[in-house]
Amino acid sequence: MASLVRRSPRLSPQIFIPIAHLWNVILALVCISASVNIWGLSDFGNLGRPVQVFAAVVVLVPVVIALYISVGLLLHSLRKNPSGWLPKGHQTRYAAMVFYYVGMVLCAAALVETWAIFDGFEFLVNGFMANAWLGYGFALAYVLSWLSGRTFLPETLKRTLRYASLVTGFGTLIILLAASDFVGGMTSILSTYRQFNVIALTIAILVFAFLATQFLLHGEHFGERPHERTSWQGWLLLSPNIIGFMIFFAGPLLLSFYLSFTNSTVGRTPEFIGLQNYIDLMTLEFQTQTNLADPPQRALSFGFNVLGTLELGNTRYVLGAKDPLFWLSLRNTLLFCLLLVPLGVLPALGLSVVLNSSLPGVKIFRAIYFLPSVAAVVGTALIWRWLYDPVIGFYNYIITSVVNFLNTLGLNVVDPQIQWLTDPNVVLFSIVFLAAWQILGYNTVLFLAGLQGIPKQLYEAAQIDGANRWQQFLNVTLPMLSPTTFFVLITTIVTGLQVFNEPYGLFPARPIPVNATTSVFYLYNAGFFQFRFGYASAIAWVLFVIIFGITFLQFRFNRSNAYE
């Protein structure tokens, strides 16, 4: 990166700073115009007036930043050293670098969208797949290149092979591109330059890139110090993630928070309904019933369904909820977590201790145990569905075989014929076993990394003190692993609270059994099957608060106990 910077053209500040001022003015005018336009739109993508107003205000943010930069540049050029909130020289430069860089990235994203390049990827992949046999050309090029590097061959032959390799490789590439409609794609992209917005975006990218580069190159003009240079380089490397986070995570997060206060559904503009979604979600009703012959449902008001009952003497206590399935899904999720933590953490700890040894072939076993973590959950869930099949599944086959064997010994054992995916008392365990199997390898790798970070001297000291293996494990390994254990616990619990893939994959038919319905699955169901986006958003936020609360408590608890 440093060499790239050194070789880039530098212009005098007297040239690029006036350009920056001019560009700031243009940007400000464009943004103000866009804000006014957004404000006046009759339809804002079915997102509602509050989002429209928010977007109109957000579009004005660049105006403020541009103003801030221009004021900073003016003060700097006047050799003023401002105090208080007014921008100082290096602050102005940082703001300008970030502002122009982000502007460039956003314009580039808008341009490739306008080129319809995302659609093009699909066509390109289809083109490549249709001509996949051409890939042999690359293999041939590689073989030729490999042969050209063999020392036993004469120089002239090596040179010929090298050229043949290049010609084969590039020839294959060109044929592949041609077969994927290279000319058509290029023509289509060029044809978009008849549109004003494509030209404007291209110019904007060039100007943003030019200004970002110039501010980047003129650090000394703004009093940059060496450590500050490494600092912006770090931020630059982080920027794709930060920009991606803001656009694809923070934005939807805010939107879902807003939607949770609306009646958002597919195809309609959401209307603000205040806390109604949360009220519908959380409202409970408690009634007593003295005529026990009546079904409990009769005791509840219209719109409520039975969540639980308790009979004491001649009185039945009925707990109802407007949405009992939400409470049941929450119960399932918490129970799932309680089961997943011991099943996903303790075996992983034991396994990591074994895999940390120097047994022959241990590296192969490390890879094998990690495989379930990288396998697609939906795919493995389909296999587990077959394993769980009560009639032709493997697990019941094994159990029946064991029972039959025991019975041949004279024991009178009854075959349980477990209904893994349908018995309400078993189904959640079935999901937990799958999830624990999946997470085991990942947790094992984490523990393994933790184990390998424990200094050998501690074990040597313990041995000198006469500690046996178990005492070493209890008094050295476990305390030294506590930061890793803390991390594994946190990630396992959060994974457990967000469980979705396992029930989604195990139960392709909808609706799924109640005891297999987890909170995130219920959220998905509310959003995509019932089209209740506002309600689903409210579920998501309730779940977020619960996960945040549990994690926060864990942090508080572990901070005092963790052995750093």
Binding site: G120, F121, L124, D423
Partner: protein, 427 residues
Amino acid sequence: MKRFTIFVILGALLVMSLPVVVQGQEITLRWRTRPDNQAEIDVYTTASNTIDAAWDGVKLVYEPGGSETAGYQDVLVTELEAGTAPDVFWIPGTDVARFASAGLILNLAPYAAADPEFNIDDFYAGPMSFLTTNPDMNSDEEVLWGLPRDISAFAIYYNAELFAEAGVDLPGGDDWNWDRFMEAAMAISELGDDVYGFGMNAWWANWGYFVNAAGSSFFNEDYTACGLNNEATVVGLQAAVDLFRSGAAVPWGTDSEPPFLAGKVGMFMNGRWATPGTLANAGFEWNVAPLPIGPSGKPTNWLFWGAYVVNAKTAHPEEAWELITRLTSAEIQGAVASLGANIPSRQTQDAIDLFLASLPGTGINNSVFTDGAAVGVSEAPLFFGNWPKIDQIYGQNITEVFNGTQTPQEFADTICDKVAAEFTAGN
């Protein structure tokens, strides 16, 4: 530096090579349906190409959607929200009401009225009655939400070898009623601990058959309220529960198709869509029979259907209408039906003949499905209720009935109270 330059050039070439949808005078129509396998994708691709070749000025782009369990609906809903959904797409019959009420699909009545070749009577009346329902009860406006792609009905897929082994008559005939059905199931289940007389899956239509065959119904006559609070529901469910409790049926909730294909189930109730898989995987002699007649005394079945509908935001509504009429032509439906998974949605004799002639040489009794469809209760989109929520509550309570935590009587007594809030008409 050289390497860097080469990478830049190659990167630029790759980017520039990405083909973009060609802008031109030709209208491009995107359409999508939910295929169940690659063979169906191939047939729909061929159908699309055939129509495309014969249609000047219109370019068709067929986008096979994911299967039922691979996010077909998720993708569609997301695209509808984002405004990028195809011009024409398929939805299940139960979804028509929601899509229509939400304004997501176009009212095609004006285009149908202007089309001299369109005849509503060519299609099965049940689906068409729902496709012409106006969700605004106060409006007299004529509506048409789409045309059915195909239909289906249940049949009893039976393992003839297990019937022979158990020494019971093959299913079918005039006296094919619940008594014979139960006896056959019990006799077959006695062949071994891992052999079952009957199997069915757990979604609504399966237990719904028992309820309907006993004379009850999911909804009232005008589909504005629950219709399960009656004695017929108790009778139907009790018979089903007894069958399952006796151990003669594959345990409730278990996918019965794998054990049936493994030769462990005597009778398996499923739709026409299961025929290709059974043909490919069953290693025993099998065929299909009608559903047994229940206490109502009348033949009972379901008429499943899904419809091609037009995106309300399409820029080419007339061409989109033209496309769905071409996609539902007897010729195209016949080509799809020849695969064996679908029944044409046209009840014209030429379409029925095409279906009856499908899968020649297999000996499959195709007429069982058309006969079933003729008496079938149409899969109902609820224009005045929240079907996904009602389905969820029905399903939750039915599972309790089959698991023994609720009796059929308790179910019938309370289910309508439990779903009452989910019906919009009258609330």
